[in-house]
Subunit: 341 residues, 2 copies
């Protein structure tokens, strides 16, 4: 079985965006805001957007199941206040839930949180619990920068984040650390902000001692861990300078990297540098890079090819493609076992 | 000959820091600010800080010459106003100039610019010209984020930076894109902010068309290009999506990466992915990571070892160690030729 731990509903019916634009237009005038019930999307519309896009590519590429969350760049936690963000998160999560109900063999949900710059992360918990208990979410996306590129939030090791971590530990769900769109002209969203956030989060974890307080807390750092594996020597050296344990002991029981690295040498480096137990298969398909590589004739984000061609043994590939995901996402494993898988 | 294109005077005599602290303390009260003449550092003191540190390691490692600039994390362009920054840059540049005069065989200067958040970059030009004309600077360090981690400046492709580029082209000096200390708690200075800045700058250049306006402008992106080479497929795909030419044509006549990547697999990736003509030997010694790797028994930043062990041919190593630097830094080449080298 091949599990892709990182997929977003980037192809949602256009009605979703229209509703969101109305919500944004109504920020200054709450009475003008659309009601959630005004968003009407039929099951057939959902089916079509999935069957023609993600599911089609999954079948072509041999991926069985995707951990599926709302479109990351559309979370846009910097827009409006916490109420705006809460309504938007609820709508997006419900839509992903419907995808997963319509295609239960192929998609399992991960929750988007309602977050807002300067607002206590504690407020995100009710939506997270709804997603886990009612929708069967097996994970969540946690935005370390709800400001959208201004980085006004404290590091992930700050105690203000702890209520979310307590809930994660209670339900045994990992968080993917994933920012949203950049509203800072310095940072291109998918070319700089996403990758910088991965690098930043990793270094915050190097600096802190979060997993002493939460030994079972798990984070997935997407996009191959940002720059971290490429600069593994730098991070080993910085951990040493900061008098931390070796990275393997300090972080690698709790921190995992996905394979959203869109060329062979990158995946080769990832699988050489990071212990195979910490690498999770993912493509972020359909996501940041949708093009076909003219040199290879394949989609850049067809990451299965790179993993297959890496120097991992068949047993190690089994870890990357399935076993690691079942270990890091215990609720996914339980759901699969219930279905006899 | 082995040329290290990236070294900072991180070991300056303590009097420099004392003077700077007095300058900072005097920001609120200009009459309390120390005069530049109050900073007294003897040639012997400079000799000692260099001979016991950078020069000692250069000799041990077989590096002949370092392009030497003021300590990057101490530039701290966010502190005070442009006048504070100008006086500080002048002092730091003069001190580096003295190092280079005392050890002309081993150090050649690169200029630090006076920069200040929100201040027109044009104001940096007189100090740059002084450094080139009077001190023999062969390059400069350009800070794309003078705010120190708040990223309030426009992208490097913005026309407000053009006067600096015009001066660079006029004197044929390349700029290393190098931020300073982070005053944003989210970003560790050397573990996140430096690497993010490299990634951010690279993506800004992907998005823009700067080298159409300045075909001979040259940038060196330090720390192995941040995350760019590790995510080369992503950047190739994003350039394609943005309807830009191939990276090789779009950027690689003008953008170069140094080898400040502190482990073998990272340097292997860099030298595999990036054309060898675009890779410049550097260590950033003595810099961010001063530790000895317990696994190898060598300093993490002893990057010559990684280049030597890479799969580059001897001819290609000659490019990385010397020839590329002489091509990218024409004033260095001219100075060396004058000395018959």
């Amino acid at each position: 079985m091949i599990i892709d731990v990182h997929g977003h509903y980037t192809t949602a019916p256009r009605a979703l965006e229209v509703w969101r634009n109305r919500q944004i237009d109504g920020i200054g005038d709450p009475s003008a805001r659309p009601r959630a019930s005004e968003l009407v999307i039929s099951d057939d519309e959902i089916r079509e957007t999935i069957e023609k896009n993600q599911l089609k590519l999954m079948k072509e590429r041999g991926t069985d199941l995707t951990i599926f969350s709302p479109r990351a760049s559309f979370m846009a936690h910097h827009i409006g206040d916490f109420e705006v963000s809460s309504i938007w998160a609820a709508i997006c999560n419900e839509l992903c839930h419907r995808v997963c109900q319509l295609f239960p063999e192929h998609f399992v949900p991960a929750a988007m949180l309602p977050q807002s710059p300067g607002v206590d992360p504690k407020g995100s918990i009710p939506e997270l619990v709804t997603c886990i208990e009612q929708y069967g979410a097996v994970a969540l996306n946690l935005n370390p920068d709800p400001s959208g590129g201004h980085w006004t939030a404290p590091p992930l090791t700050d105690r203000s984040w702890y209520p979310i971590y307590e809930t994660m530990v209670e339900y045994d769900v990992p968080a993917m650390i994933h920012v949203s769109t950049s509203c800072n002209a310095a940072f291109h969203t998918t070319g700089a902000h996403y990758i910088n956030a991965d690098t930043t989060a990793f270094m915050q974890l190097v600096q802190g001692d979060l997993f002493t307080d939460f030994p079972t807390l798990k984070f997935v750092i997407p996009h191959g861990g940002g720059a971290a594996p490429y600069h593994w020597g730098r991070y080993r050296g910085l951990a040493q300078a900061l008098k931390k344990p070796r990275l393997a002991d300090h972080l690698l029981n709790n921190v995992f990297f996905d394979t959203c690295v869109y060329h062979q040498p990158g995946v080769d480096l990832l699988t050489t540098v990071v212990p195979v137990e910490n690498v999770l298969f993912a493509s972020e398909m359909i996501g940041a890079v949708r093009e076909v590589d003219p040199d290879s004739g394949h989609h850049y984000d067809d990451t299965r090819r790179y993993v297959e061609k890496s120097r991992l043994s068949e047993l190690e590939k089994q870890l990357v493609f399935e076993d690691n995901a079942r270990r890091v996402y215990p609720r996914l494993d339980a759901a699969l076992r219930k279905r006899g898988k």
